[in-house]
Symmetry: C2
Subunit: 210 residues, 2 copies
DNA sequence: AAATGTGAAGTTGTTCACAGCT
DNA sequence: AGCTGTGAACAACTTCACATTT
């Protein structure tokens, strides 16, 4: 028997917890104070048993016969995910996609702040009216030495991605959100989440022609 | 009760096939004609047994003792995924993200063409120099009646997403790539792939603080 | 009565390990 | 010998179904 160490929560569960959190926020603005697993699961697009099991990975928050307290559950999930405090992030690669991500409201809304952005050719980007100054790649190591950032968004072209990832890892980045089509090779302790827009469309395309 | 004659390929396998396809393309430009499951798997970041099993869902393309013919395998996967022909797509929602997606080279490169873009306020966007004219939402039904498009990218704000999805489904769209934070309710036969940038960061954030 | 929490059953996906080609 | 293709073992995830609590 292991003692109450860090609960080992499956990746998919963590992902769904984010969805539940958003549903709870919506439900709360409707003035609803208590919600059943059935109702919340429906809003999140999952089965109720799954929602209940997901929650029990890190505690018991419900009242039998009644359901879950919306505010409490929201707080607990938010705390677990670490979104109750503002998380600093850096962005590398300020092309089409990178620019969009820089001005994307969704990140700020959900508790993330893009502290700084880096690009190979920062001068070229001066013209665009961006919300933040763009730094050259050479400034990256110094910046990371001075700021406690653990996560980076990579939005550079495929061929440049591995080199960028190496630099990031060398300078203490522990999590990478990779928008490039490259498959990044990183040490085991570094987490990479891939978002590949072309692959998502390709995937859709396959299933649509069922 | 089974009914399907076509090979039923798991979603995750289809996703990985897209990755293999990209690796094959890279390998081909290096002039390599034959590749082992071991080598290709390494490039794709998976185990070799998994790659082999993924491939056998739709055929046998390898030569024992030798490996796979790069060109042939590329052709077979490309054919299966339906990326050998140009796929038309429409985009709904031309905000920050939508604008970036419109100019994103990755789609064109991988065989997708954004035929048209729609927004609630197309006039407001006239100023931005966009590669395509933006249509009003009211033109959507007519457009879909005249063009054989089966896939749509949704990049509207969360609260607007369900209504947009309804319109799309009513007008024959069978696959939606959903960038909004909303959980879309659609008929069973319609496929939705969700890409939620804030959730990806949140997920990363959780695992980084292990 | 209503709804949670959870073992057990069921399902799906991954890895092993080796028989069988080339 | 080298490498694929695959049944069998394994692992992870989902759903069921019901005892338990309010």
């Amino acid at each position: 028997m292991s003692k109450e160490a860090r609960p080992e929560i499956p990746r998919k569960t963590v992902y769904r917890l984010s969805i539940y959190l958003r549903c709870l926020q919506r439900v709360k603005t409707n003035g609803i104070r208590t919600v059943s697993s059935e109702a919340l699961a429906k809003a999140a697009g999952v089965k109720s048993a799954q929602l209940r099991k997901d929650l029990t990975y890190f505690g018991q928050f419900g009242t039998r016969g009644l359901g879950y307290d919306v505010e409490l559950l929201e707080k607990m999930i938010s705390q677990l995910l670490g979104t109750s405090s503002l998380q600093p992030v850096i962005l590398v690669g300020v092309g089409n996609l990178g620019t969009a991500l820089l001005s994307y409201q969704g990140f700020q809304q959900e508790g993330f702040e893009i502290l700084a952005a880096f690009d190979l050719e920062p001068e070229r980007l001066k013209s665009k009216s961006l919300p933040r100054p763009i730094h050259g790649m050479s400034e990256l190591p110094n910046f990371l030495r001075e700021h406690p950032v653990r996560m980076a968004i990579v939005a550079v072209p495929g061929p440049a991605a591995q080199a960028v990832a190496n630099t990031l890892v060398e300078n203490g980045i522990a999590g990478i959100l990779n928008f490039s089509p490259a498959v990044l090779q990183v040490p085991d302790e570094v987490i990479v989440n891939n978002v590949n827009l072309a692959i998502e469309l390709e995937n859709l395309s396959y299933f649509v022609r069922g």
